[in-house]
Homo-oligomer: 218 residues x 2
Amino acid sequence: MDKTALFNLSYGLYIIGAKDGGRDVGCVVNTVTQATSVPTTLIVCINKDNYTNACIKKTKEFSVSILSEETKQNTIGVFGFSSSKDKDKFAEVPTGHTPAGLPYVSEGVTSYLECKVIESVDNFTHTIFIAEVIEAENLSKEPPMTYAYYHRVLKGKTPPKASSYVAEEEETPATPSKYVCSVCGYVYPGSTEEFEQLFEDYVCPICNVPKSKFVLKA
Amino acid sequence: MDKTALFNLSYGLYIIGAKDGGRDVGCVVNTVTQATSVPTTLIVCINKDNYTNACIKKTKEFSVSILSEETKQNTIGVFGFSSSKDKDKFAEVPTGHTPAGLPYVSEGVTSYLECKVIESVDNFTHTIFIAEVIEAENLSKEPPMTYAYYHRVLKGKTPPKASSYVAEEEETPATPSKYVCSVCGYVYPGSTEEFEQLFEDYVCPICNVPKSKFVLKA
């Protein structure tokens, strides 16, 4: 089985917002998919280790901010590699609130959606939330950011017309300092700075161990 | 609620293959999403009216062909606007079979996946299949086709850097003959030929009635 085949699935990039009592919490995901038109439902998969997951399970509601190509890299950084348990992420980005009071990112996005959970399906490390879309508004006409665009353009690579992960493997340069998987030896092809910016739930594409198993090698 | 906000979600384009006794069946979808890495699971939503849906419910297995930008428009036409109940769709395209004997499209694709259903979740008009990926192989290095690319490029429109649906609404030209929604009056902006090539499950983006409610107007 060649797991790199899965890198050819296409995604967007989204911030999920939720309420934790009076606090705003959120995280970044790439798995928002419309499931039906009538009624308007969607699916999102969120890691169970993610604080936002626990909040959604309690409140049964969340927002989706659909990131555009104009999203500042800092926004993804804030939501992607720290926990809402410790940090008020929405305080660091332009924020709006949906009619139900759910936080959304208000700049560098195409639209926000307000969603009410219909069903939560337990699936190994993640929860699959099935939700009805209650409100939806467009905030800009900026093009939606795809996950491939994020990997290709925001990391400053020349865009080869291939999926981002595969392209990164092909382009592995012989630079002095690299993050290496301590289990299988896979060398992360980007810079050390790029590796450090990766989502908390990044896993080795070869052997699937978590980000924490990577070590810096000269 | 502005439902056009949902057009900003990003997707790929995929052929789902399944077995119906000794026959190969399949359909086109845009909702394949990886759900977890360990184990490797994915989700796909398939309309209950779709013959392939019933076959997957029986056999609990399916393939995914990840379409590339080199996919022939005919392939999407064959899988998108006829039923496997009446027609041997795979006979009309280059076909391979996975180790478990599931059919996949072997040209104009990046990869195939072989999947085993773990759980089927009923969700209004669609079934959400949660499945484990058993086999995966890359077949080309062609860039994966996104749903936006399909709408933008394969319909021969100038690519504005906006999501395809919204762009189509903006570009509505005053041409002699158009398909019009008999319920809300929405004018399908593409040519009559393009409308006829749309998926069976196309719905009016304004009022959500099925394709069959559209009428040709001079």
